[in-house]
Symmetry: C2
Subunit: 293 residues, 2 copies
């Protein structure tokens, strides 16, 4: 049970949590803020991650299970007024629960040790909402690690945490490696490194057809406005573009990532090039397979 309600934003604990909206303080304390019942539930599943829980009286009764779980985990639960919660939360409609969490990222070596078959790299991704959406999409598509290079946004930025919809807590995230050291490490783990870029020589379809996507793959996604710098495009194994069939100039970052990552997920699972077999299209008729040769 939470004790007396804190009603002042000058209370030392409120002040110290509030500072975590800034990157400098997050990295000094190696802690970040996660808002809302979903994030709190995910954080509680990882031992030692949730270090403090702020709650309004109303949220405390509505989410009694989470409050109890936080207390059992040994985390102080602090009841705050609606005004204090509004100050702490970074959303317009705070959901009455806000956790201070310890950083969850892992080292690159640790993330690569299980020899993942699908890795997502965010290089020069600057918009935290986009980065969080790609993290969520990578999780959905079965990516076993997500790397934010040092030129990308901080994965613990509040908007990124929210857009990840909990995925920050359940995909191994690597924060801050330099791109130059990253590529050799990915290759050493047996990963083919593909960059997604509108300037690619190869279409995604040809990468599927040639069996390229069936291999263990690290996908590199770049900046939402200008893509990937020349030195990265030169360094990767192949530059692949998502085909544009209509008249749109491009896809946005998260949608392009979704198409690429799901194409890999499918290619790796069917273990198949998806190429129409010699003899013509199969078109769902199993019998044509036996008519051939």
């Amino acid at each position: 049970m939470a004790g007396r309600e804190l009603t002042s934003i000058r209370s030392p604990r409120v002040k110290s949590a509030r500072r975590l909206a800034k990157r400098t303080f997050r990295h000094r304390d190696r802690s970040f803020l996660a808002e809302g019942p979903q994030a709190v539930r995910e954080a509680l599943e990882l031992p030692g991650v949730l270090s403090e829980l702020f709650t309004t009286a109303e949220a405390e009764s509505r989410h009694a299970d989470l409050v109890t779980a936080a207390e059992r985990a040994g985390a102080p639960v602090l009841r705050v007024s609606g005004e204090v919660m509004a100050e702490l939360a970074q959303t317009v409609t705070p959901q009455g629960l806000l956790a201070v969490c310890r950083f969850v990222d892992v080292g690159l070596a640790e993330a690569l040790a299980p020899r993942p078959r699908l890795v997502t790299v965010l290089a020069h991704v600057r918009d935290p909402g986009n980065a969080g959406t790609v993290l969520r999409t990578a999780d959905a598509a079965g990516s076993e690690a997500v790397v934010f290079t040092d030129a990308s946004v901080d994965p613990y930025n509040g908007k990124c945490v929210r857009a990840s919809a909990g995925s920050l807590f359940h995909v191994p995230v690597v924060a801050g490696p330099r791109f130059g050291t990253l590529i050799p490490a990915l290759r050493d783990s047996g990963l083919t490194v593909l960059a997604a870029d509108g300037a690619g020589d190869r279409t995604l379809d040809s990468a599927i057809d040639d069996g390229l996507l069936a291999r263990p793959t690290a996908w590199v996604f770049g900046n939402e406005a200008w893509g990937l710098p020349e030195e990265i495009l030169r360094d990767v194994d192949e530059v692949v573009r998502v085909p544009i069939y209509g008249r749109a100039e491009s896809l946005n970052l998260a949608t392009a990532a979704a198409v690429c990552l799901y194409a890999s997920a499918r290619a790796q699972r069917t273990g198949c090039s998806d190429r129409p077999a010699p003899g013509g299209p199969v078109a769902g008729e199993a019998s044509t397979g036996t008519e051939r040769a």
Copy 2:
């Protein structure tokens, strides 16, 4: 060349353009606002669409080609002060060009007349940014029409126009039909109607494997928070879910739409079920095809 600079937001023309931020006035005037050089360029490609162009002095010299093209098209060009542009524009950093455009949507019968093979339906999509992103993605994936049902956001909402990144001007958009009348019309045009929903019985992969996606298809996407209502799920031909391989609970609307629409684009183009042919995976080795049987 624009005449005298308008410096007051009380100028009748500025007032009448400004009102178009509201749906009621947009629909009364059958006109909407499109911001920035890209949108203005796209609007100018459609005869009779751009009816008035507001520009700052700076943008007038930077985008002289567009200003000249607007004048040639017979549209009044009005030079406004930076303050007036800031009032007119709905973005924090207005780009100095803002067009009043006539509605570009087409009737359902007109959109279906060319017997499209890929149609996108937004049903109960309420967030204008999401709707615009789906419109852009649908365009990229080669969707030949995009339908906003009456329960979805207005396609002419400023955020939707911006997120569509010009696609509002080059995909036939149908605005406002009721869902009940829509499905029979889609079927009459030879389209199989698929709803994308996390509750689907069928995975996207099985829809590909069975050749379902190679057919002419209308994809129905629902609300970002709660999906599609029961009556729509009952009415469509099949409910298809994008598989979640990791631990994310779901994909967001635009990324799910990207995965579904690109899966259709590929299936329709390869004319193939993508199913590993009997005899085992092909895995990019053309020779295995001939070893079989």
